[in-house]
Amino acid sequence: MIILHRLVRLVVVLLVVTFLSYALLNLLPGDPVTQILGMSATEESREQLRRELGLDQPLFVRYLDWLGGLLTGDFGESYITRMSVGAELAERLPVTLELLIAAEIVALGLAVPLGVAAARRAGRALDQALTALSFALLSTPVFVLGVLLILIFAVTWNVLPATGWTSLSVDLGWNLTSVILPAITLGCGQLAVYARLLRTDLIATLQEDYIILARARGLSPRRIMWRHALRPSAISLITAIGLNMGALIGGTVIIETLFGLPGIGRLIVDSIFSRDYLTVQGGVVLISVGYVLVNFAVDVVYAAVDPRIRRA
């Protein structure tokens, strides 16, 4: 029942998002024909290419046509490269996925211990230092942080590559070195948000009666923190993970461009500039499906974290 409900929601989200992005792109001045033929082409040859590409049809007809193809799993063909959009996306998706997952691992892997450390000694020096660090991270744009990291690790110390990508299937070690800097850059903004949320919720949970009673039973502080306090304090954190996924995906566009990674984000940016409508559409579909799926997963995790939510 819930699954069905979600599917309906997913379809609605997809329809709205793809139509809006389709319409928006078409409102931009310029079209793929100019990109392909150049500025000096004659009006006749332009007209002919438009017909070949189907661009002479009204916007709505083209959209429905594309939508019909999507239902059969066909993302269409790129106007520019004449390659299958589906194949292009499939090639680039692993890069973006790996970047996202690595960024979340960096963010959560640091945010949980830092949040716990800050909550345990709320108001003390460590907590205040972490608060200051969080705000510093939050107010640093990703591209500034990225350039800074490149400067330190790639240029000055020369321990990590500044740009470029090695696929996971080619070499694991090189793959990891190429994902580290982008993942840290992308994860740091999330890290600050996650650590703040977890700290605040933990401080509230630690004042609950059952925590005091757990201490009265002589449970060790570590056991109380990790076994009793952490899970109930994770609700805001989990919500933020789901909601921030959009910001994170938006971040990949910048990160992939900055570090020269062949991912979905960069594909979309390039395609926007070349007015390659269908490639952009394909990327948008992928991102919205991903976003809805992540938030569905978040709801499932809620129930695991807090059994009371199962009834709702």
């Binding site: 609950e208 009666d209 059952y210 005091i212 009673l213 757990a214 201490r215 009265a216 039973r217 002589g218 449970l219 060790s220 056991r223 009793h228 899970r231 109930p232 974290v305 807090d306 059994p307 009371r308």
Partner: protein, 335 residues
Amino acid sequence: MAGSGKSHLRPRDEVLLRVEDLVVEFPAGRGRTVRAVSGVSFDLARGETLGIVGESGCGKSSAARALVQLPPPRSGSVRLDGQELTALRGEALRRTRRQLQMIFQDPISSLNPRRRVREIVGEGPRVWNLPGDRVDEVLEAVGLDPATAAVRRPHEFSGGQCQRISIARALILDPEVVICDEPVSALDVSVQAQILGLLEDLKARYRLTLVFIAHDLAVVKNVSDRIMVMYLGKVCELAPSADLISRPAHPYTRALIASIPDGGLDLPPSDTLISGEPPSPVDPPSGCRFRTRCPRARERCAAEEPQIRQVGADHWLACHYPALPDVEPPVQPAI
């Protein structure tokens, strides 16, 4: 009221728990502190139940939590079986915690909502490596069916049932002393009676030593062997339960008794009626702290804090002008 002194304490070798000059303070902002408990002393013999009553904010809960060092008192001494708890830190303190267990007012928030009852009750013995699995036995003792209750979670139970789970969780550790902080205040009256009855049964069955805190004298009087009345962080009166109810000497105790519907004590309103809120514990009145609301207050009450003195068999009082006809005011010290 607002009495200090330790003359009511019994010899050390007769008592299980001995609390002396307990002071609990909290920061009240702008550098000021609230003295929630200021110099309270009492003791507890093995198998005895001490009731502590007083209105909200009189420091009874703060005193109870200071007993288990959560948080530790500002000063004073808490001795359990001769061992000074306030001197313990870290691991040594953690190891003694098992001996003092607590039951709180809010049965729902006292239980981790994410755990099943078997985990909630069984965690303590597992952490302490106590032999045998007594979860079923203890659940039965508190009136829950282990077969159906153990696999469920707290939100599937009523308040009264949750309180039974809390009691089971405390009992399974075989504590020396169980501190019940308003254990029935959040429950319906009919359920209150059941839980009080359960506590009395368990007291007899496990030879429990209880500290029983309530704002309602009617709740405390049947469960307790002795009752201590507190006001604004100080002791007013301490007496065996029946004696306190039938011969209340402190004006505040009399007011509390008069507030019980059908309390059985026929007192004139002029003698017992108190009004208004207690003064702020940030800035308590001089002398006797009850004087601002006391119908019997005179000048001496503002100038001099009454000391705890004996006014009957095991009946102790901190008041200059008690309401009992056969009790004289204490001799005024020469100035």
